[in-house]
């Protein structure tokens, strides 16, 4: 009976709030980073939708340029390089997310070089903003590599969805509606970040 009581006391119900991060290790911790930063998710989803909407196979270079941007950004962040302070970087991520989402809403054809540049810029920004300040040395590099892998994988889902949805007018409208949701959310938070403190 005593053993049972001790076992029951040891059940770590309260630890759930933080355990997914604490016990994961640096690589998977890094992989989770874009998932826990909504601004990153918005930009990745918007870019994925845009590339899928414009045609994946016609724009493979945009995907590679995005990956290149993420890797360069993560490498620079790992070396301690930052564009500016973290809040301004988040602002830039949201601004680009809003712009890309508005392009999804407009659904106008984009030139291949424009999409390549957009992918590169978005990737660079995300890579630079993926550094976790509390990590140092090898742990920081491993986490950044994990973030880069996740940022690439996360792009594939909305991209494949938008590509699949391009076959039917109703589904194409669905992609544009999701674009409007992303643009609206990004704009609201931009307004909140830029609003003068009450």
């Amino acid at each position: 009976m005593w053993r049972l009581a001790v076992l029951l006391l040891a059940l770590p119900a309260t630890a759930w709030a933080h355990s997914p991060i604490e016990g994961l290790g640096d690589f998977f911790n890094g992989m989770l980073h874009p998932v826990f930063v909504p601004a990153h998710l918005l930009l990745v989803f918007a870019l994925g939708l845009l590339i899928g909407q414009q045609g994946v196979f016609a724009n493979l270079t945009a995907i590679w340029s995005y990956l290149l941007g993420v890797l360069i950004g993560a490498a620079l962040a790992g070396a301690g390089f930052t564009l500016t302070d973290a809040s301004i970087q988040e602002l830039a991520v949201l601004l680009v997310a809003m712009g890309v989402a508005l392009l999804v809403v407009l659904a106008a054809p984009l030139s291949r070089p424009a999409l390549v540049l957009l992918g590169l810029a978005a990737g660079l920004l995300l890579g630079l903003d993926s550094v976790q300040a509390e990590l140092e040395g090898t742990a920081r590099h491993v986490a950044l590599f994990g973030s880069a892998v996740a940022l690439y994988l996360l792009l594939l889902y909305p991209m494949a969805t938008a590509e699949r949805f391009s076959v039917h007018p109703w589904l194409r409208v669905g992609v544009r509606i999701i674009g409007s949701w992303i643009a609206a959310s990004a704009l609201l938070v931009l307004a909140l970040l830029l609003a003068p403190a009450a």
Binding site: M1, L8, T14, A17, S180, W181, L188, A191
Partner: protein
């Protein structure tokens, strides 16, 4: 011994629930619930979808794309503290006007319909926007309420598609009438 066992069982309470409103998930959940918890918001959003479906192409897809963007403009005004008078009355009025448009089968030109919907979208956005600064995760909250609003439009559109059949057309118009009545209830303070 029994007392010890009971004490241990008491400690098994789900303490994590205490944080349900915090963090990303809490912010998203709160945002998702915000438009659904006010009946005046719900019926007005349903009316937008109903009217869009009733008007057919291009309104059926244009209104759900345009509405969140214009609503955001209202949200920005709310965040910036720009004073908009009688927001709640504006929301109730949106249910009345949009409900009547459906009930009376009004078919204005597309730009006129878009302006009417956009005008009311500002009131709805303003109401959500004033809640945003207090949210634990503003981005998750805003994403939640924008998605929730969009899903309410989709419900309205799905119901509005019944208008393709004569019987369904009557049902959709009756639905518009009910929405207008709910709006009257809110405006008069009965609801």
């Amino acid at each position: 011994m029994k007392i010890l066992l009971i004490s241990s069982l008491l400690l098994l309470s789900n303490l994590a629930h205490a944080h349900a409103e915090g963090g990303l998930a809490g912010g998203f959940g709160s945002g998702l619930l915000h438009p659904v918890l006010g009946l005046d918001h719900v019926v007005a959003m349903l009316a937008v979808g109903l009217w869009g479906a009733f008007l057919g192409n291009p309104a059926i897809w244009l209104l759900p794309v345009v509405f969140p963007l214009v609503m955001t403009f209202g949200g920005v005004l709310g965040i910036l503290g720009f004073p908009i008078p009688a927001v709640e009355a504006g929301i109730a009025l949106s249910a009345i006007v949009l409900g009547l448009m459906v009930a009376l089968a009004v078919r204005p030109a597309m730009p006129v319909a878009a302006i009417i919907v956009a005008m009311f979208a500002i009131f709805h956005g303003y109401a959500h926007g004033t809640e945003l600064p207090a949210s634990a995760s503003p981005l998750a909250f805003s994403l939640g309420f924008v998605i929730s609003t969009g899903l309410l439009h989709l419900v309205g559109i799905a119901f509005g598609l019944l208008a393709r059949w004569p019987v369904g057309r009557g049902l959709v118009r009756a639905g518009g009438g009910v929405i207008a009545l709910v709006g009257v209830g809110y405006l008069s303070g009965l609801l």
